[in-house]
Symmetry: C2
Subunit: 137 residues, 2 copies
């Protein structure tokens, strides 16, 4: 079931990297955070505990594949993972490669700005797509 007013039901939410029938990965397009991805469940569901155990595992397997692909392609200091949904109550996971010279490190990206943040280049969509795909097999 979808909601007629939810952005993540009505649009992809950003440049599409990979998708199947139940889930997708997009680029979040946060200027200070190249490589920042969102993993989105297709159905309009608010909480992980609203999903069946099988669907939870299915969604998380794409989060882990995205994390692993970003680690290989970008070598971040840390990966940050978060699912809030306070504004858009439609399950989506933030998968964020973090670097010691980024805008908020070591704060969460929602915290206090620490510096301007070093420029960095995100992997090309096709490169990231292939890296995610091979981790899902």
């Amino acid at each position: 079931m979808n909601s007629g007013t939810c952005d993540l039901c009505l649009t992809a939410g950003g440049p599409l990297i990979w998708e199947d029938a139940k889930r997708r990965v997009i680029y979040a397009e946060e200027a200070a955070y190249p490589g920042f991805c969102r993993v989105i469940w297709r159905e309009h569901v608010a909480e992980m505990s609203d999903l069946s155990r099988q669907d939870r595992d299915h969604l998380m397997s794409l989060v882990w594949a995205t994390e692993s692909a970003l680690r290989e392609l970008m070598h971040p200091q840390k990966i940050n993972l978060a699912s809030f949904g306070n504004v858009v109550p439609h399950l989506h996971w933030h998968v964020i490669p973090r670097f010691v010279d980024d805008k908020h490190y070591p704060e969460p990206v929602w915290g206090t700005v620490q510096r301007e943040g070093a420029p960095r280049i995100a992997p090309a969509i096709e490169t990231l797509r292939l890296a995610i795909k091979e981790r899902l097999v």
Copy 2:
């Protein structure tokens, strides 16, 4: 393997709610966030993709049980989940019941303060322990 300088290796990290050989749940004791729990992996491991698939599922099953128990006991507007580890690179998940009148809503708890935040009472440790335990069976 543990680290001799890591707080989450050396201490429980807060009042213990439930534990087994590989994982535990504690109260985070954040004054503005009654019910805020942390789910902590016992071994000193930084990233979810450093764990085996089986261990990842094992850790997340406790995150889901904690989320579900907090929903039943506190009826929050939303559950927020996050794993950062920028400061303490030892796998731990924040499980945070959020309410429309809490200190930062709808911002993440790491974001801009919105108001003083309504007082609220956390479940007793024993009550939460039993609710988590019955969801792990």
